[in-house]
C-alpha cells in the first residue's frame, strides 16, 4: 500500500538537489551583540526582565525570600504551588499555607476546572537567561505545563546559580537534560498582546504579572 507518507517522501527525494550547503556551525558570536561579562549576568537578567515589565526581587537569604513571597501573595485569595523542597520551605517560613488557600498543584486532579480560578502560581525554574531576561521552565519541573501560564500572577523562585548567558547556552543545557520532558518554555516577560491597534496590553491569556524571587547562588 502506497501511503501519503511514502508518496510525499518519494516526491521530495526526486526533487532533492544534488548539492546543498553544509550545516553551518552553531557558534554565532559574530552576529550577536556581545554578552556582558559573566559577573554581571545577574544584573543583566534583572535589567532586561524589568524592561519587559517583569518584577525581580533579589533577596539575601531564604528568610527574606519567604517575606517577599508572603508579601506577593498577601493581597490574593488563593494560590497554587509546585511541590518542591525550596518552595515548601519558603511557604512554611512565610506562613503562607495558614493565611491562604495555598494548594499544591500536583494534588489537584489533572483535569480540574477550578485550576482557572487560582490567582497565583508559584514555581521554580530551570535556567534564567541574562541576555534576554528569560526564564526557562519544563513541564517536569515547573508545575507541569499549566502552572506557569494559567494563573494571573506567576511567581518564580530561582537562584543566581541558574543564570546562564544566552539562549544558546540554555538550549545546550536543555539538550543535555536526560529526564524525559515533554514541554519546555522560554518565558520572556508577562503575557502580552498588541493585536488591538498595536497597543501593548499585558496579561492577554497568560500571567499579567511575572515576579522572580532571586536567591543567592549558595541556596540549595
Amino acid at each position: 500500500m502506497s501511503t501519503s507518507r511514502e508518496r510525499i517522501l518519494s516526491r521530495l527525494r526526486q526533487a532533492q538537489p544534488a548539492v546543498h550547503p553544509p550545516l553551518p556551525p552553531l557558534h554565532r558570536d559574530d552576529v550577536f551583540a556581545d554578552l556582558p561579562p559573566r559577573e554581571s549576568w545577574c544584573e543583566a537578567f534583572c535589567t532586561r526582565l524589568r524592561a519587559l515589565h517583569g518584577e525581580v526581587f533579589r533577596v539575601a537569604d531564604e528568610a527574606a525570600a519567604a517575606t517577599c513571597l508572603a508579601a506577593l501573595v498577601d493581597p490574593l485569595n488563593s494560590c497554587l504551588r509546585q511541590r518542591h523542597p525550596l518552595i515548601d520551605r519558603l511557604v512554611a517560613a512565610g506562613s503562607i499555607a495558614e493565611m491562604k488557600s495555598c494548594r499544591i498543584y500536583e494534588d489537584l486532579l489533572p483535569g480540574s476546572v477550578e485550576m482557572a480560578d487560582f490567582e497565583a502560581g508559584i514555581t521554580v525554574a530551570d535556567w534564567l537567561i541574562a541576555r534576554t531576561g528569560s526564564i526557562v521552565v519544563r513541564a517536569t519541573g515547573a508545575g507541569g505545563r499549566r502552572m506557569s501560564v494559567l494563573p494571573p500572577l506567576h511567581i518564580v523562585v530561582a537562584t543566581e546559580a541558574q543564570v546562564v548567558g544566552s539562549l544558546e547556552e540554555a538550549l545546550a543545557q536543555l539538550r543535555e537534560e536526560g529526564e524525559p520532558w515533554s514541554m519546555a518554555s522560554v518565558i520572556t516577560g508577562p503575557s502580552r498582546t498588541a493585536d488591538i491597534e498595536k497597543i501593548l496590553v499585558l496579561g492577554a491569556h497568560g500571567p499579567k504579572r511575572l515576579a522572580v524571587i532571586l536567591l543567592p547562588a549558595s541556596t540549595e
Binding site: T3, S4, I8, L9, R11, L12, R13, Q16, P17, V19, H20, P21, P24, L26, R28, D30, V31, F32, D34, E106, P110, G111, S112, V113, A116, T132, T140, G144, R145, R146, V149, L150, S166, L171, A172, L174, R175, E179, P180, W181, S182, M183, S185, V186, I187, P190, S191, R192, T193, A194, D195, I196, E197, K198, I199, V201, G203, A204, H205, G206
Partner: protein, 463 residues
C-alpha cells in the same frame, strides 16, 4: 469573475479608502522603528545573520526527506502520532477522524496560518464541533466571520471602536474604547474554554529534526494553554517548518521575534516533544502531528521557487510592502498575503488563477531587503511572471501587447511612429482613463530627433 478581475475591482475600491489607509498607517507606524532598534541592539551584523539563517534553511532543503523521517521517528518514540497529508482534503480527513475518536465537542485553537490553509474552522463547524480561536486577533476575525488580514496581526484592520461594538454583540461586553478592557474581555471569555475544551489545536513555527519536537512562538500564552490544558493536542504544520537542530532556535527565535514584532524574544517560546510523560503532572494524553504537503513538494521541485520554502512567516515582507499597505490583506484572497503570498500562492494552488499577484508588485525590493532568511522575493516574483508567460498562463492581451512592444522597440523609426500614433490617435485607442492620466502629453519630437536638429545647427556646442 476571474481572480484577477476580482483583485482589480477590490483594489480599486480599497486603494482610495482613506479610513483603511489610516488604520494601517497607525498599526505600522511603530513597527519599523521597533524592528530597527531591536536589530541594532541585538545583532552586530544583520546581513551575515540572515545569510546564516538562509544557510540553515537551505541545509534543511538539502536533507528534507531525511529530516522529516528523523523528526517522525523521534517524536513517535515519545508517544506522539505523526500523520501525513498530501493535500488540504487529507488533512481535514485526519482531523475529522481525530475528532470523532475523541468525541470532541469543543475545540480551542491557537493562531495557525496552516489551519487557515486547510480551512479547518469551516470543517469543524460543519461537523457540529464548536471551535474557538484563542489568539486575540484571530478571535476578533473569527467573531466577525472574516479571514485573517495579516499572517502575524490578523485583526490589523480593525479599530478599537469596531472591536468594541463586536464584543458588545458577541461577548456581551460593556462598551469601551480601551484596548486593555477589550483584551480582558477576551481573556475572561476564554478562561473556562481552555480547561473545558476537548481538543487543543496549534500550528508549529518550527519542527526540530534532531529532537523530534515542535516549537511554538507566541506572546499571549494562548498557545501554551491550548497545548497545556485539553487532553488531546493536535499540531498542524507545514512540512517546510523544519530546522536541523534544537540549538538552531537560538538563531531563529530571535530573528522571528525581531522581524515579526520588533521584540528580542516573544513572551513564550515553547518546545513540545510529545504528549505528557510518565514523570509529569499534566499535559495532553494524546498528541498528533499532521505534516502538510499541500503543494510544498511541488514547489520544491522548482529549483528557483523552492527558495521560498525558507520562509518562517514573520510577516516582515508584508509590513515593508507598499502594495500591501495600499490594498490591505483581504484583497489578495489568499491564506498568505503580501509579497510572500504572491510568490508562493501560484505554486501552492495554480499559476493560471494566481499569477496576477506576481504582477501586483512594483519590484521595489523592499520585501527582499527585510527578509530575515534572505529570500529573493522580488526576484521570485519576476520568475513567476516568466513562468506564467512560458506556460501561457498569462493573459492573451499582454502576450499580444508585448509582441507589439518588441516589434516597435527594435528600431528607431518604428518607435518614433509609435509615439506619433499615440499623439495623434491615442484618444481613439481603448485605453482606460486611469492609465491616460498617468502619462503626460508626449512631445512632438523625441530626444533623438531634437538631438539631430540641435547637433546640426550648433555642430557640437552645448545644445
Amino acid at each position: 469573475m476571474s481572480r484577477n478581475a476580482e483583485f482589480l475591482r477590490q483594489s480599486a475600491v480599497i486603494a482610495v479608502d482613506e479610513v483603511h489607509r489610516g488604520k494601517l498607517d497607525k498599526a505600522m507606524r511603530n513597527y519599523r522603528v521597533a524592528v530597527n532598534r531591536m536589530v541594532d541592539q541585538q545583532f552586530t551584523d544583520w546581513e551575515a545573520l540572515r545569510q546564516q539563517a538562509a544557510a540553515v534553511k537551505d541545509h534543511v532543503l538539502g536533507h528534507w526527506p531525511e529530516m522529516l523521517e528523523q523528526f517522525e521517528q523521534k517524536i513517535t518514540e515519545r508517544g506522539a502520532i505523526v500523520l501525513w497529508a498530501e493535500d488540504a482534503e487529507e488533512a481535514r480527513e485526519h482531523i475529522k477522524r481525530i475528532m470523532s475518536r475523541h468525541e470532541a465537542r469543543l475545540v480551542v485553537k491557537s493562531k495557525s496560518m496552516v489551519t487557515e490553509e486547510i480551512e479547518l474552522n469551516e470543517l469543524l463547524e460543519s461537523s457540529g464541533i464548536q471551535v474557538i480561536e484563542s489568539d486575540l486577533g484571530e478571535l476578533i476575525v473569527q467573531l466577525c466571520g472574516e479571514k485573517p488580514y495579516h499572517i502575524v496581526t490578523p485583526a490589523m484592520h480593525k479599530s478599537k471602536e469596531e472591536i468594541s461594538v463586536l464584543f458588545q454583540q458577541k461577548l456581551g461586553t460593556p462598551p469601551t474604547d480601551d484596548a486593555a478592557e477589550l483584551t480582558m474581555a477576551a481573556r475572561a471569555h476564554l478562561r473556562q474554554v481552555y480547561v473545558t475544551a476537548d481538543v487543543g489545536i496549534t500550528g508549529a513555527n518550527f519542527l526540530l529534526a534532531d529532537e523530534g519536537a515542535i516549537a511554538v512562538t507566541e506572546n499571549e500564552g494562548n498557545a501554551r494553554l491550548t497545548m497545556g490544558c485539553p487532553k488531546v493536542h493536535v499540531v498542524v504544520a507545514g512540512m517546510e517548518k523544519m530546522l536541523p537542530r534544537m540549538a538552531d532556535l537560538a538563531l531563529f527565535w530571535p530573528i522571528l521575534a525581531s522581524s515579526g514584532t520588533g521584540q528580542q524574544l516573544t513572551s513564550y517560546n515553547s518546545i513540545v516533544r510529545g504528549p505528557r510523560q510518565a514523570n509529569e503532572s499534566d499535559g495532553p494524553e494524546t498528541m498528533y502531528v499532521i505534516l502538510l504537503d499541500n503543494g510544498r513538494s511541488h514547489m520544491y521541485s522548482d529549483p528557483r521557487a523552492s527558495e521560498a520554502l525558507r520562509c518562517i512567516r514573520c510577516g516582515a515582507c508584508l509590513n515593508a510592502c507598499p502594495v500591501f499597505k495600499t490594498v490591505g490583506g483581504h484583497t489578495y484572497k489568499t491564506t498568505y498575503q503580501g509579497p510572500i503570498g504572491s510568490v508562493i500562492t501560484p505554486h501552492l494552488r495554480n499559476m493560471k488563477d494566481w499569477q496576477h499577484l506576481s504582477h501586483a508588485s512594483t519590484l521595489c525590493g523592499a520585501c527582499t531587503s527585510v527578509c530575515p532568511v534572505a529570500i529573493d522575493l522580488h526576484g521570485l516574483l519576476l520568475e513567476n511572471r516568466r513562468q506564467a508567460t512560458q506556460e501561457q498562463a498569462d493573459d492573451a492581451f499582454w502576450r499580444f501587447a508585448m509582441r507589439g512592444w518588441s516589434f516597435g522597440m527594435r528600431c528607431r523609426w518604428r518607435m518614433e511612429w509609435g509615439r506619433r500614433l499615440y499623439r495623434w490617435l491615442g484618444w481613439l485607442m481603448p485605453i482606460p482613463q486611469a492609465i491616460r492620466r498617468s502619462v503626460p502629453r508626449l512631445p512632438a519630437k523625441s530626444f533623438a530627433e531634437q538631438w539631430r536638429s540641435k547637433e546640426k545647427s550648433s555642430s557640437g556646442d552645448t545644445p
